[in-house]
Symmetry: C2
Subunit: 309 residues, 2 copies
């Protein structure tokens, strides 16, 4: 079986450990909207979260970055007064970014760089950025309007600065990375991971030919709700949903994605038993406990999603 997963960072990474456990041929199409250049380093937080998690190098407790991380470079940069100082740049991470930046500077596309990095991490799935083109999520805040990078909004301001809207800079004209369209055309099932719908999944779908291939593809599309009982499982999806006027509920997010039969992307929508009764027009809804507390629970979620498909 061939499974394609649309995924953001941490939630997507954990979900993917369950998908990998099915033994299927798995392709993850990962958000690049969080990507940012800081201190001259090209940083891809979602690709790295997936790569480190599936490669056994992630810090499970903190939920992002590397296990056993240290912060010498970050402290030294701050001692030079080098901005920004708010980004959590770990020493182990710096090496990843150095290799990536050097390869990008040499002309390799991000998909090739990701493949090269995965030669070390052996994630056991195929890891593709949504696009090799530079695409970044910016957030319009303040009065008068000003746009800041998503990372600044998310990390520096802890998503507390009221967001007017999200802009996927570069999405217009962005081409899907090599392999993305083929994977979607050959997928038996497409799963939408329980990632942030507004800033993880939406930027993937903002790559127009990718969305078209998803909608017109042969595989059933099943989404997994990132909202349980009216609250995000982790992260600050509530603040993102508020900015786009979508209720922070399983039904709200299901409606945001919409039915494939009605211009949306979903055939099925998996929600937590807490949200039993959730209805989304034109979408088949099923329930399953959605807390990814361990790999067993995650595998059960994935099985339920595949059954729904």
């Amino acid at each position: 079986m061939r499974i394609v997963v649309l995924a953001g960072g941490i939630g997507g990474a954990r979900f993917l450990t369950g998908v990998r456990a099915t033994g299927a041929e798995v392709t993850a199409i990962v958000n690049v909207g969080d990507d940012v250049t800081l201190h001259g380093l090209r940083i891809c937080p979602d690709l790295d979260s997936v790569m480190y998690t599936l490669g056994g190098g992630a810090d499970a407790g903190r939920g992002w970055g590397r296990a056993g991380e240290s912060w010498v470079v970050k402290e030294e940069l701050a001692a030079y007064g080098a901005e920004p100082a708010w980004f959590g740049l770990g020493d182990k991470d710096v090496a990843t970014h150095l290799v990536r930046t050097r390869m990008l500077d040499a002309g390799y596309p991000l998909s090739a760089v990701t493949e090269a990095l995965c030669a070390r991490w052996q994630p056991g799935i195929r890891l593709l950025p949504a696009t090799d083109d530079r695409m970044e999520t910016h957030v319009v805040v303040g009065d008068p309007d000003r746009a800041i990078h998503f990372q600044e909004w998310w990390i520096r301001y802890r998503a507390k600065l009221p967001a007017r809207r999200f802009v996927f800079v570069g999405a217009e004209g962005a081409k899907p990375a090599p392999g993305v369209l083929d994977a979607l055309a050959e997928a038996d099932v497409v799963l939408v991971a329980p990632s942030n719908p507004v800033v993880s999944i939406a930027p993937i779908l903002a790559v127009a030919p990718l969305r078209e291939a998803l909608v017109s593809g042969p595989g059933k599309v099943v989404g997994v709700s990132p909202i349980i009982g009216g609250a995000p499982v982790r992260g600050m999806a509530d603040r993102c949903l508020r900015a786009v006027d979508v209720p922070c509920t399983a039904a709200g997010v299901g409606g945001l994605y919409g039915a494939r039969s009605a211009g949306g992307i979903l055939d099925g929508w998996l929600v937590d038993p807490t949200d039993a009764g959730t209805a989304v027009d034109g979408v088949r809804v099923a329930t399953c406990p959605l807390l990814m507390s361990d790999e067993t629970a995650t595998v059960a979620m994935v099985r339920a999603a595949l059954e729904l498909a």
Copy 2:
């Protein structure tokens, strides 16, 4: 009093602590031939050695790099198979290189970058690269000839690969960094630090207008021998001298520099008592213990050099 010092890395840095202690207005003109770009980072070992040493951040025991250094980035780069793995890239150092690389990429010249880094380190002297132009020392080795970067020869091969000759790539046409010519024109004394004559001092002098300004300048030029009793005090100057067919003696190096009155650069030459009797045509020779065992000994050396001037 205005003192200009021509200096390489560690030996130059230690010597400069003694020069600074005189209370004079000190300008160090530092070798950039060792500079190298590795992993996308621009690394200036001699400028950093001087900056860290005078700023109180150097590892005195190891003799290079930062005190309390860690090596996480280096280990991680090796885990990715990123070459070269032989360079001692410390985590604290990485931050310095990131700031420098980012500023250079933004168009600032190396002299301005060095000034910016020194805003943190407060070395108490003016630190100038010999040139802002890219100039690197390469070493011709092997049969047939091939040229490798000085750092590869020095660190990877511990200078054991027989060197045919040293090439200062980019020296032709290199302009002295801003401030260098003025400093030489206004110097009361110019001191040549006991640095490696072949790969630290020679690349500085390879910047032709700099050498001309030194030779035609008003200040007496006094060199301090890096050779005591036929051996380099530290480092591998013997292997460098062999490559240019100069005896590894205080007289040999004095003769290599030569008398200012005869097309060389020296008015005076300070040697260790072990080498009493050393004669260099046209150069006044004096003796003083030249082991920089502590700052008191180093200050005594500097005083002796100034008296000779």
